[in-house]
């Protein structure tokens, strides 16, 4: 509105209906993308297999009561006190594994995360869900690997030895690994699973299996920097 004119929402001449609709649709797109910090709409997403999504969503809603904390990892699902009550935008992220190289007794899983959320949010909690089909006690080694841009390779962030007692889901706290990953350029977490020989592959046979591994992460927008005056 020009200076001295009326408030634009009060009594301004209504634009032509067609133009107004197009403008509102464009505005809706623009504001949603801006709030999600997306430069453009994500193109051609690849939805997870039909069987795996409901299982993952159910697990995501359930409170993980037996999250195994790996050595050097924090059990820090609590909300940091400095952020409590500040009304910062929260995110829940569900990431399904992509298969990496595997051998008869080991398998690698890759979890990729987008820069949009990673650039503006901090990880509060992250849990890896793994399903074991073997009925008896099973010794499993879980290694968390992170990209090392300097050596164009991966480095091991942690190693956990689990003694799986029965078939079913096992959870592992990967919050610390994901937190350090979010500060890097390449946002890929690699999980290496290793079982003793003659135990078979530690992974389900295919992606469409409802027991396919996934990571659930809770993140929160970073606290805006405050300007201090001295």
């Amino acid at each position: 509105a020009t200076e001295g004119s009326r408030c634009p929402s009060c009594g301004a001449a209504a634009p032509a209906p067609g133009w107004q609709r197009d403008a509102l649709l464009a505005l809706a797109k623009q504001s949603i993308l801006a709030e999600l910090r997306l430069p453009a709409r994500p193109g051609a997403p690849q939805p997870p297999a039909r069987g795996s999504l409901p299982t993952a969503l159910r697990r995501m809603r359930a409170q993980p009561s037996d999250v195994a904390a790996a050595p050097g990892m924090l059990r820090d699902g609590r909300v940091p006190a400095r952020n409590a009550g500040m009304g910062l935008q929260e995110y829940e992220i569900l990431s399904f594994a992509e298969s990496g190289p595997s051998t008869p007794r080991s398998a690698r899983l890759n979890f990729r995360f987008s820069q949009e959320v990673a650039g503006s949010a901090e990880i509060l909690q992250a849990t890896l869900y793994l399903f074991w089909a073997a009925p008896g006690p099973l010794p499993v080694t879980v290694r968390l690997l992170q990209p090392d841009p300097a050596r164009q390779n991966v480095t091991m962030a942690s190693e956990t030895r689990l003694e799986v007692q029965r078939s079913g889901w096992t959870t592992l706290d990967v919050g610390a690994a994901l937190r350090s990953l979010f500060g890097q350029e390449i946002l890929q977490l690699t999980v290496e699973l290793e079982v003793p020989e003659d135990w078979g592959s530690p992974l389900p046979s295919d992606h469409s299996d409802s027991h396919w591994p996934f990571v659930v992460a809770q993140a929160r927008a970073r606290t805006p920097h405050r300007v201090h005056r001295r």
């Binding site: 009326r6 408030c7 929402s9 009060c10 009594g11 509102l24 649709l25 505005l27 809706a28 797109k29 504001s31 949603i32 709030e35 999600l36 997306l38 709409r41 994500p42 193109g43 051609a44 997403p45 690849q46 939805p47 997870p48 999504l53 009304g87 935008q89 929260e90 995110y91 829940e92 992220i93 569900l94 990431s95 399904f96 990729r112 995360f113 987008s114 949009e116 959320v117």
Partner: protein, 114 residues
Amino acid sequence: GVDCGGDSRMCCRQEFFVDFKEIGWEDWIIQPEGYHMNYCAGLCPLHLAGAPGLASSFHTAVLNRVKAASAAAAAGSCCVPTQRRPLSLLYYDRDSNIVKTDIPDMIVDSCGCT
């Protein structure tokens, strides 16, 4: 808050629904099916103008007197959102991860005059 309808030109909430299918976004936004992009429109004559957040008090009385004395103040009264709520979205990001977030203050629930 008043919803727009009929011939009234007073400040009201105009409903506007953006169907994600219509704009070709249904493939990456899982839920909801659309966005209620309501907005505020209409006139705010002097008798409808109030000061949000101020209860009836000496200060309100003074403000009303100032408004009554000044035509410019009346013209500056705006029809604006007085109640808003977040938009909950479940969507696929660029890596086909599923993200759930609440974008604050995206849906206008009611409008009023400043």
